[in-house]
């Protein structure tokens, strides 16, 4: 505990130092402007706001680049971008910062957390801002809006949004005599994995037990996670059990490598990168990264829809932008200006082509820039097309805990062969019901 305290202390110190640094540099920036006689208005002070984002690498660069572009595009607001680890890290830090009274003005909500933060009063209702700015909400892709409204009010705007897709190592697919377009349904998926497996050398697919992926499989079987009235778990049905059955079967056959350690996600990625697995379920956000790796490793990369059971289906993912509650009107205005800019057509085109995230606006998808990109690099288009089968993630306050319970119970059936898929899901549903009924 002591360590945590000292880390917090160090962070606060570093932040306050950074803050001091910025004020001085702004003061010197402003000096020449106020000195020029042509400006009649009294020295106009720039409003400073802080923006938190998650993930490094290409995604981090994208955030830093956009903020830099925003700061250069106008002279009223200065945004300071700060990296905050994973979504989980960012959420816990934001919560602690809010309790301490120094939350960032603008930050990201992983979409299933929009409800939690709106309901606890940490984020601001954006409805009045949208009305005032006369923002055309119909331009946001409807499939991406399912995690923006809480109790009928708008709390978050779609920013870096994704769906899981199936990444394929087309070189290996061709070697195995398979159609490089990828499997269309679960049966084909099993067959692909079987043919791509080389004992002690390669798995058909390496994957973690990940709730986002599980949500996709449930959706593909025509099921949902939580009941309509938010009171009970809805996954204790064939649609919720079949995915686990499939995974356990493939694991037993040795065609699917289910990693049970905490860094399972990273391992699935490295296995795919090093061609120790031939397929991978991952976010469309990894697209540009995977394209670079494939080129370095000398294999042809493919993408396709996640295979269907009774239907195609994926949850959407990624993050929406939110504004902290209880800001001064001045800061609110600045924060809104930034959010509006970040989620607009030009920026979503930039972010999408830079990372592989989905463009969040209809006008962006239809723009010449994106059309040209899809023509040159058709891999980008798969996730956009798949949006037709996509839906929101659950947003109940208890959902983070339910997700953990589900993961634990599914993992139990993976490591302990005496636990069946039915038993694991039933146990998870029982615990989830107890949490939801509170």
């Amino acid at each position: 505990m002591k360590k945590i305290a000292s880390v917090l202390l160090a962070t606060t110190l570093a932040l306050s130092l950074a803050a001091c640094g910025n004020t001085t540099s702004n003061a010197s920036n402003d000096a020449p402007a106020s000195g020029s006689a042509s400006t009649p208005a009294p020295e106009k002070k720039k409003v400073e706001i802080t923006y938190w984002y998650s993930w490094g690498d290409k995604i981090g660069e994208n955030n830093e680049n956009l903020v830099k572009m925003f700061n250069e595009s106008q002279d009223e607001v200065v945004v300071k971008a700060e990296y905050q680890g994973t979504y989980d890290d960012q959420h816990s830090k934001a919560q602690a910062a809010f309790a301490a009274g120094n939350a960032p003005e603008v930050w990201q909500n992983e979409i299933s957390s929009v409800g939690v933060f709106a309901k606890s009063g940490m984020t601001e209702d954006l409805t009045p801002f949208v009305e005032k700015a006369n923002l055309d909400m119909k331009d946001f892709i409807p499939g991406l809006m399912g995690n923006s409204y809480v109790d009928g009010k708008l709390y978050a705007l779609p920013y870096l949004r994704s769906t899981p897709i199936l990444y394929l190592n087309r070189t290996l697919l061709k070697e195995a005599g398979l159609d490089p377009a990828g499997p269309k349904n679960w049966a084909e998926f099993e067959e692909y994995a079987r043919k791509l497996t080389v004992k002690d050398k390669r798995f058909g697919i390496t994957m973690p037990v990940d709730i986002w992926t599980y949500e996709a499989f449930v959706r593909q079987s025509g099921g949902t996670m939580i009941s309509e009235d938010n009171k009970t778990a809805a996954f204790n049905t064939a649609a919720g059990i079949d995915p686990v059955k499939l995974w356990l079967k493939m694991k037993k056959e040795g065609t699917m490598n289910i990693v049970t350690t905490d860094d399972a996600g990273t391992q699935a990625k490295t296995d795919f990168h090093n061609q120790r697995s031939a397929m991978q379920f991952a976010s469309t956000a990894d697209l540009t990264k995977n394209m670079i790796v494939a080129e370095e490793q000398g294999f042809e990369l493919g993408t396709s829809f996640m295979p269907a059971n009774t239907t195609f289906g994926v949850p959407t993912g990624g993050c929406n932008l939110v504004m902290s509650a209880k800001l001064s009107p001045e800061k609110q205005e600045a924060a809104w200006k930034f959010i509006q800019w970040m989620t607009s057509k030009e920026q979503t085109i930039y972010a999408s082509s830079f990372t592989g995230y989905l463009p969040s606006r209809v006008s962006a998808v239809e723009s010449d820039e994106m059309k040209k990109l899809y023509e040159e690099k058709p891999l980008f288009k798969v996730a956009v097309d798949q949006l037709a089968y996509a839906g929101p993630r659950p947003m109940q306050k208890a959902y983070p805990e339910i997700a953990k319970i589900l993961k634990d119970e599914i993992l139990r059936s993976v490591v302990d062969s005496s636990v069946t898929a039915e038993a694991a899901i039933a146990e998870a549903a029982k615990k989830a019901d107890a949490l939801l009924s509170k």
Binding site: M1, K3, I4, A5, D88, H91, S92, Q95, A96, F98, A99, V116, S120, G121, M122, V259, T260, T261, D262, D263, A398, P400, E401, D408, L411, R412, V415, D416
Partner: protein, 290 residues
């Protein structure tokens, strides 16, 4: 006596007492207070629920498993690292360059950041490509699952903790050994006592204050293990490495159940307090102070 000379000692200790109260005493009482409420950290209203958080804790199988994980981890880590470091200390307690080098090497894990240590061990323990499994195969033993199986994950963490702690313990033991007067050994040599007898009759009793100190320190720090778990396992797989402090962190900062997390914190406080008390009462009688 003037007023000032009466007051002076209190004025002198006031700053440290103030810091101690604000950062240690107040949080403890605030935590105990919070454990009777339902609160999400943000909502201005705290809902009083009495002892509900505690009954819920002890009805929750997950929490009971967390308690037993913590106990198992603590007992294994402390006993292994004390026994190993005691033997190492006896072996290393002599003159010579090589002994100095070995002692330095043993101590080095203690000064490396636990975060980097955890990351390195994660690579070593990789079930497919890790160095440890490669070594096992080299000598013809079967591969182990390490962190990926609930059967071996807690033991793997114990291994890291022992590796990390042995050097420090050995160092303290060596200091203790060197403070034992040489004439006692000379006397026992004259009486032709064998090595085992010398160890039980002289070394161990003379070392008991050191031993006692190390057991207490190790117990308390193992009970509060956090970093290795946060980095290497996040409590998994299937809750098999979830321990008290990590459990508190998860409920407090991921599920925003501050009251429930505080109740678990109170349990930690009570257990560590009791352990310390019991050990002081029981062991202090058997400890030989010169």
């Amino acid at each position: 006596m003037t007023l000032w000379s009466r007051l002076r000692p209190y004025v002198m200790v006031a700053p440290s007492i103030a810091i101690f109260s604000i950062f240690f005493i107040y949080p403890i009482f605030y935590m105990i207070y919070l454990s009777f409420f339902n609160w999400d950290f943000i909502n201005p209203v705290k809902e009083f629920v009495g002892l509900d958080n505690f009954t819920e804790l002890f009805r929750n199988n997950e929490f009971l498993q967390v308690l037993s994980n913590t106990l198992n981890y603590t007992l294994l880590t402390v006993s292994l690292s004390i026994v190993i470091s005691l033997f190492l200390a006896i072996w290393l307690n002599r003159e010579g360059t090589w002994y100095g080098i070995v002692q330095g090497a043993l101590f080095s894990p203690h000064i490396i950041s636990l975060v980097s240590v955890s990351l390195v061990w994660m690579w070593l323990m990789d079930p497919q490509f890790g160095l440890l499994n490669w070594l096992l195969q080299l000598v013809g033993l079967p591969k182990l699952e390490w962190l990926s199986s609930p059967d071996s994950s807690l033991l793997s963490l114990v291994l890291v903790a022992v590796w990390k702690g042995v050097g420090y313990n050995a160092l303290i033991f060596i200091a203790g050994l060197q403070s034992i007067p040489k004439d006692m050994y000379e006397a026992s040599a004259l009486d032709e006592a064998n090595r085992l007898r010398t160890f039980y009759k002289i070394t161990l009793p003379m070392l008991s204050p050191t031993l006692f100190f190390l057991i207490i320190i190790n117990l308390i720090s193992s009970f509060q293990v956090f970093e290795t778990i946060a980095i290497m396992t996040k409590g998994g797989p299937v809750n098999s490495t979830n321990t008290l402090v990590f459990y508190i962190y998860e409920y407090g900062f991921r599920y925003f159940k501050i009251g429930y997390a505080s109740a678990a914190g109170v349990v930690l406080l009570v257990v560590v307090g009791l352990l310390t008390l019991v050990y002081f009462k029981l062991l202090s009688r058997k400890v030989h102070y010169q």
